[in-house]
């Protein structure tokens, strides 16, 4: 499933890094501006889907395969559970609080930035997983 259209391939070669950079911007500024983990992750998953559609299945399998998807989602969910559990238990057990920087900086608002990054990873891999399962019947 490889399209030989020159315009499509060249435009995607220029635009896909821009799309991924914009999605990383939306994820990392999720606590300061509109957007967040789900919206940025959906855009990142869209860039993976475009890569699959334009450059073919064998090209994207070198970057993302089933092993990477399972490991990425599992490790992300483990860290999500650890962070949410810490913020849930730290009030009762008097654990040290997460420092909240000055409002407006990137490294502020405590645990919201790592949680946004984790949600972005999970959503992007899930979008690509659903599409690949739907198109090829396997991952």
């Amino acid at each position: 499933m490889k399209y030989k259209d020159t315009i499509l391939v060249e435009v995607c070669r220029i635009m896909i890094p821009v799309i991924q950079l914009f999605s990383i911007y939306i994820i990392s500024h999720g606590h300061l501006s509109p957007g967040g983990g789900f919206a940025g992750g959906a855009i990142l998953g869209c860039s993976f889907i475009i890569t699959h559609l334009v450059f073919g299945r064998t090209y994207i399998r070198k970057i993302i395969n089933g092993n990477i998807i399972m490991k990425g989602m599992s490790i992300s969910l483990i860290f999500y559970g650890l962070m949410k559990g810490y913020s849930f238990l730290s009030y009762d057990l008097h654990l040290p609080k997460i420092p909240t920087g000055t409002p407006g900086n990137i490294f502020s608002a405590g645990l919201i930035l790592p949680l946004n990054i984790i949600v972005g990873i999970v959503v992007s891999l899930m979008m690509y997983f659903t599409f690949s399962l739907f198109l090829d019947g396997e991952i």
């Binding site: 939306i26 509109p34 919206a39 959906a42 869209c46 889907i49 739907f134």
Partner: protein, 79 residues
């Protein structure tokens, strides 16, 4: 309401009627994508930029790709 939003709303009605009229399935998918994109502009006009980003990513991106994948499966079965 501004004139721009009124034009957008009228074009939404036109697109949603034309989705049910057009016979070609690929054209229907593309018109549906344009409908979703205009909906994203309208969310921006209504001061909801968070919803506009999500609508543009999910409604115009992922849904279109899933519809195109389904259309490819359907045509492969027939031919």
């Amino acid at each position: 309401m501004e004139l721009f939003s009124i034009i957008m709303l009228i074009s939404l009605i036109v697109f949603s009627i034309s989705i049910s009229i057009v016979k070609d399935l690929l054209s229907t998918i593309i018109v549906f994508m344009v409908y979703s994109l205009i909906m994203a502009v309208l969310w921006q006009q209504l001061n909801a930029p968070d919803l506009a980003i999500t609508e543009a990513a999910v409604g115009a991106g992922v849904t279109t790709f899933l519809f195109i994948a389904a259309l490819k499966k359907i045509k492969g079965e027939n031919k």
